[in-house]
């Protein structure tokens, strides 16, 4: 760290060059202490030549700001390079920044974090689609609804009859509340967010440490998780496409992916599996099993809801690879409201029931792979970090309160039927 002094009237400016890391911070600390002992009271640090600032440097800035304030002096920084300025701002020390130039308008949000307002877009406005592949002979998917999600809110106890075993083959695509286990007695304390696609099934158990769990179909082994309620589809999604943001650095909201999917499937409702580089997921996850013995009368009412559901207060799993599974439908489609909710806040926003599993990041190939190949590769190489039920959250303003994605691969297909199996 090289330090030069420059006196201009009453103001003494220290021109710093080098790194304000632990070593640089010690050097600066000694220099500032000497200046203050010598009578310096109105001090500025010119950081134009500083290439690195860590918390060790911040500690020195804070110490001398406080010291000079007690001495009725003044202390500030000027000409910070952007990366250095960001560290100062994230440390809650914007008060130290004394540049005369006005604040940059979007310095904190940044253009990259500002997607186009979600909701009212039509297909193709926020995303470019490429590599469309149609699997010949793949028909529409048969889909059934199991149980009743509305029972979560009223807190009616569940019993063994509510535990439906669902065989997860490579042709199964499912979301719901489920658990791995040999029956109701084994599962009842563990029911949580569940999804399945391409022969892989994943659960977020609500007992124990909250580590998500998964099973892969292989050879003669077919996972048979138990579901309290869910959407279960059978068939091969016949459509594949890859999407990227249409405008540079504007992530694609989930409702846009749903529209692309419905347009490509040429249908009012479709099943979808997506693998995408996420710009943030908004969702909720059950924290306690609704089938455990101690369910209160209305667990999803305030304040009990805090013990039962965890919400992501802002977008989570940024930079993860997300696996999103579920069913989407146009706003005009007749879909049971207890299972399907609007994806965005705008009128006409598609309806959906989608669960997401977040994995450690892996570069996404943009060409077609069979779904089962993609799933076995994903589960065997990347670590599963958590499962969420995706929600629209109108408290989150940027991006229309939706989950956002940078680029993704989507397998989808129209629904042939929607049976209700209560």
């Amino acid at each position: 760290m090289d330090i030069q002094q420059h006196q201009n009237g009453a103001v003494l400016t220290l021109l710093l060059a080098g790194r304000l890391d632990s070593a640089g911070a010690n050097h600066l600390d000694a220099e500032l202490a000497a200046v203050v002992r010598g009578g310096g009271r109105d001090l500025r640090l010119d950081l134009a030549g500083v290439s690195f600032l860590s918390s060790a440097g911040i500690r020195i800035l804070l110490t001398h700001y406080r010291g000079l304030k007690k001495l009725n002096g003044a202390f500030g920084v000027v000409n910070s390079p952007p990366a250095v300025r960001e560290v100062i701002e994230l440390s809650g020390l914007s008060i130290l920044i004394r540049d005369e130039t006005p604040e940059p308008v979007a310095a904190t949000a940044g253009p990259a974090a500002e997607p186009a307002a979600g909701g009212g877009k039509t297909g193709g406005e926020t995303a470019n689609v490429a590599a469309v592949v149609r699997t010949p002979g793949a028909g529409p998917l048969r889909c059934r609804l199991i149980g009743d999600p509305g029972r979560l809110a009223v807190g009616r106890g569940y019993d063994a009859a509510d535990c439906r075993a669902v065989a997860v083959t490579r042709e199964t695509l499912a979301v719901g509340i489920g658990a791995f286990g040999g029956g109701f007695a084994e599962c009842r304390g563990a029911f949580g967010e569940f999804l399945a696609a391409g022969g892989a099934a994943a659960c977020q158990p609500t007992d124990g440490g909250g580590t998500p769990d998964y099973l892969l179909a292989s050879g003669n082994f077919i996972p048979e998780p138990c579901l309290l309620h869910g959407v279960v589809c059978e068939g091969t999604p016949g459509m594949f496409f890859h999407f990227e943001p249409w405008a540079a650095r504007v992530p694609v909201p989930m409702s846009e992916v749903a529209r692309l999917c419905l347009d490509h499937a040429g249908a009012d409702s479709a099943a979808l599996v997506m693998l995408a580089d996420t710009a943030g997921l908004l969702g909720a996850a059950l924290k306690r099993s609704p089938a455990a013995g101690d369910v209160p009368a209305a667990p999803l009412a305030f304040p009990e809801i805090r013990q039962w559901l965890s919400f992501t207060p802002e977008r989570a799993h940024v930079g993860s690879l997300a696996l999103v599974v579920g069913v989407v439908a146009r706003a005009t489609a007749a879909m049971p409201a207890s299972f399907f909710r609007p994806l965005g806040g705008a009128a006409g926003s598609p309806l959906a029931h989608l669960h997401a599993a977040a994995f450690t990041f892996q570069a996404l190939p943009d060409g077609f792979r069979p779904l089962a190949t993609a799933m076995s590769g994903l589960f065997s190489t990347q670590r599963l970090q958590g499962l969420l039920h995706l929600i629209h959250d109108d408290r989150v303003i940027t991006g229309g309160g939706e989950s956002l994605f940078w680029r993704g691969n989507v397998w989808c297909g129209p629904l042939a039927s929607l049976e209700v199996a209560l």
Partner: protein
Amino acid sequence: MNTPENKAGMDGGPVRRQEWRVPARMDGLTGLLAKVEAFLEAAGWSLAASHPVLLAIEELATNTIKYGYPAAAGTLEVVLAVTAATADLTLRDDGMPFDPVTAPPPDLDQPVEDRPIGGLGLHLVRRQSASFVYRRLATGHNEVHLIFHSLAATLKSGFQELH
């Protein structure tokens, strides 16, 4: 690590990968940071984009060196795999178990005059990384895995410089 050298990254460009091992001492850290900085520069990362990566190494390694080795000396291991868009950073040490991900955040709402100073380094790492995951390995190592994206930082700095 799922990013062997020369494999195409998510942006279509190559993945560059490098490992460093240094003694867990403060005097080893400055040289390490200079090497990582040169590596990121060679990979085409701007200073603004590299800063959060370097900051994470400095903050986490400083913590480990200060608190992880009350008795014996140890070794820090740094593995970095970068494309033009993404940096995948793994830090390993053989010190005492410590999970930086769940360490309590500092209270930045207090007035600057009487705010305690601790916890700030990890707060910065948390805020500037896209992913921040800790695990204790069966081998007795702490492993921290972080992901950074270059574009947001580069764009933000370009935007600020325009003003």
